[in-house]
Symmetry: C2
Amino acid sequence: MFGYRGKYIRVDLSTSQIEIESLSDEFLRKYIGGVGIGAKIVYDETTPETDPLGPENVLAAFTGPYTGTRIPSSSRNHVVALSPQTGIFGEANVGGSWGVQLKRSGFDGVVITGKSATPVYLWISDEKVELRDASPVWGQDAYDSAEWLKGETDKRATAAVIGQAGENQVRYASIPHIGKIVRSAGRTGMGAVMGSKNLKAMVAYGTMPLSFADEDALNESVKNLVPHVRDATDDFRRYGTAGGVEKYEYMGNFPVKNWQGSRWKEGAEKISGVRMHDTILTKNKSCRGCVISCVRHVKIDEGPYAGLDAEGPEYETIGTMGGECLVDDLDAICMANDLCNRYGLDTISTGASIAFGMEAYDKGLITIEDTDGLELVWGNAEAMVEMVHRIAKGENIGKLLGLGTKKAAEELGGNAIEFSVQVKGLEPSAHDPRRFWTQALSYATAARGACHNRSWAHPYELGLSLPEMGLDKPQKSYELEGLAEYVSKLQNFQTLNDTLILCRFAQVGGAISLANTVEWYNMITGFDLSVEELVAVGERIFNLKRMFNARLGISRKDDFLPPRFMTHNRDKELKTQLPPIGQMLNEFYAYRGWDEIGIPTKEKLAELELSELNA
Amino acid sequence: MFGYRGKYIRVDLSTSQIEIESLSDEFLRKYIGGVGIGAKIVYDETTPETDPLGPENVLAAFTGPYTGTRIPSSSRNHVVALSPQTGIFGEANVGGSWGVQLKRSGFDGVVITGKSATPVYLWISDEKVELRDASPVWGQDAYDSAEWLKGETDKRATAAVIGQAGENQVRYASIPHIGKIVRSAGRTGMGAVMGSKNLKAMVAYGTMPLSFADEDALNESVKNLVPHVRDATDDFRRYGTAGGVEKYEYMGNFPVKNWQGSRWKEGAEKISGVRMHDTILTKNKSCRGCVISCVRHVKIDEGPYAGLDAEGPEYETIGTMGGECLVDDLDAICMANDLCNRYGLDTISTGASIAFGMEAYDKGLITIEDTDGLELVWGNAEAMVEMVHRIAKGENIGKLLGLGTKKAAEELGGNAIEFSVQVKGLEPSAHDPRRFWTQALSYATAARGACHNRSWAHPYELGLSLPEMGLDKPQKSYELEGLAEYVSKLQNFQTLNDTLILCRFAQVGGAISLANTVEWYNMITGFDLSVEELVAVGERIFNLKRMFNARLGISRKDDFLPPRFMTHNRDKELKTQLPPIGQMLNEFYAYRGWDEIGIPTKEKLAELELSELNA
């Protein structure tokens, strides 16, 4: 099938056996790629008894039909496994170049099972696959390890490589993907799954050309669109994702003081993307082939973090490590961000867990004896940076906070669960669901927990449209009518994007339409699918993920918002409104064809050709 | 102090020691009686480690200053202990005549601690108190036991006596109080606490007169008001509490099919108080000295329950055993009600737990193997009656359902928690919070769990007023504005009524005003307290109960409504609306002077002279 290799690598680390397995055309049409294939394989090969950190967990990293094309913002891949952080469906989408290297090596994906007796890494290059000893870099950070791995393999290779956090099985350890730049599969602890399997890295370098059904048409279409993408993303290129800090603070979307606070203008200004641009930014960089170039590179010349010369923090990182911790020191946030890249830690859960720790300290549930003298107080930049070290190493109070806020709150007892801000065990991104009701419903219903990205609804609420799906105009703020349909459609659409795979930022400014997306898919594969047919695949996979979780006991009771999101901001200036989550869910389930407790009905599953699934 | 004996009985069952302790004037002014004294004593004498079914639990049964006066609807008492059903503050208010007998024996209350080695009962009469052997009736039902106890003591005595359910420590076992009529301290498992202590009964008979500060004025005032009370409660006397069945079904307030259903007109008609009146009612009866006479007595002449000649079911019992179980057989409900009185089971939790069991059976979580062949299907009257036996005896699936719906759902697993309709472990009364938002907030915030009675707000929402507290007109349906204040004031007021002690039904028709209530208190005690001062005691005790629970870990997270109450009735005909519980709680906490997670602030505690309490 055009646009695919039609085969993937299967590695059983317990036996060191490597197999090449094929993907049928039917399977690829049904699940397309990325999250679709990953979710189906992990669903089929795990059970409700599977321990996320045991050898029986399955990690699936897949590309999509877009990977390796010239489509801008498409050099990505998707990682799926049972999550050690949430205990349910885990997934992370990552940029960089690893997916392209894998696909150019002749494979659409990798499936890892079992556990190696000693540290190993996987080396993939032009149809050759081997397991090699990783002992020399076990215990080393992701940067140093990547450097060594490239030396052992190919300087041009990309390494999906864990740091010490993944080795230590910190529940929200990430998988940094290191080529020319560093991008991480951050969320739900995919790095801990690699660590539990003694798999230090998956390194890939490929040179084999790909073929597409109508390559000329594809390249012509892409070429015509690129200038528009460039134009539409000018601000984004200039300030990166962090450009949103001041705007979102003004709107009441930015998290402050573990979501307790409201306005924090003076702080936001000091840590914004504009400030970064005007002070420490040295260049912007991009994932392979991307014309947006949102990646920051910063250099710090003075102060306690002088000498730091590394990638800069994203909006989400500034929101959690800055806003949530009340840290208005941009240098410290850059330092903590770089440490997360080195150790291999999800910056969102790291920052959010530290903020949770600060509130627990503030409330006397964690004392200075627990922190071994560290003053874990709001705004203490030094303590925030120090906590990243401790979380990665599992030292002292870092061991507790490394569990994530839900498990940490359970351990702490008292009233800690009241300020553990998470859904299904995952800390939210830096977008306030009291400001964007579309995100309230998204947080409650995303398979991996409080994730804004699985609908990416707030930019739509702010002005983007999707006319091909009937979303001509934005959902009105604080309006229940039409909300369930609006969010559902965006979820189906973004799930499709996670299969193709196309970066969310391709949607910025509206330069790439869904019509383009579908056209490209057809040019790549030679099919002639309609928008409806392709979006139906998104819906299928969204439901597959729901069934994955339903089998693990997830239902309506878990589609909650944490107490803090049910509480108004105290500052009346921000006219945010509490989301009526009960009504939202009813209408959402009804629209989705799910039953009263949020389980897809047999009729819906049949319609989606998923009748084989059982909750 | 006038209106009190100023002393209470303290029994340590572990040592068989009986002490008479005094109550200071200051203490009585601060806590008045009933729930106030009980809550303070149990708070002081238990800890977060206390096992509700262990010897260290403390059971306090107290009268109030009204007990023993001629004030209509005042012959009641209040029982407090740590609840074996919810694990938190347990309480039950009960009519009949036991409180009057106790007070006329020279005591305001009884406090029980420890555990007896063998079954005993307490015999109280005219300042004499003794523990006696109850072995002859251990294992017998409450009726037979009461008969024997009266034979051993005095035919005119009243026995607060548990049946087999209390002995078996069924989590929601009641304490039937049996004199001329049977009234039960039904909720939160107070009967199981007695059972765990090997205390079969507390029997009282007293003849000592009471004196009041201005007895003539009191009797004159009461005498003048009695005709008005009689007039105002005419319908209530005719049809009893069950008179509400059809009206509430019509309104969307009546529970149907474990709260899944909506309209059930044909069923409601068959089991209503009107139907009872027109068919099987033989007489109505009353608690001692009450002019309302809401108690039913029924006699069944034919069919499977022919021969039943017993007290008839209340509205709540018909709601749970009838509506929730879809049982439209009034005779069967009467039978099950009588069995609950005999075994000593709370009819609300019994009916609700059976309904939960029927839904679990319907959904395949309980099978016919589990029920030993019993078809636990909706509307199976015979199965409903049979389940009462099994719950009391802890037989078969009855053991599971005897845990209450929360613990039973946890045991069952799967999605059972989704249809476990309870708050803090207590099943709601038969009033739908989707119909009465005042009750939604009441369910979420009552100390003992989903209780409608601690605010008794729905009759106020339907027309009663309380001008002395500024509640001139009813809270509008489905309106958030003013709701928190409205419910808070009613809670404070009803808490006051639970100290004095005055039956809720004295409020029916509005014949007895708060001004009367305060006047009577002053005539009894000789004080000159204002409405505000007296209501402030209600607020104090409401906060004391909250602090009792806060010490046990209760906070905002527990002030929830179960998923089913967040779901619309499917039948659009009933225009009930989902309560926005998050917003309700915020405004409630703010009005009450509680913090963001629902803990009374230090300032509020100081204002209420409760600074010694700690959460």
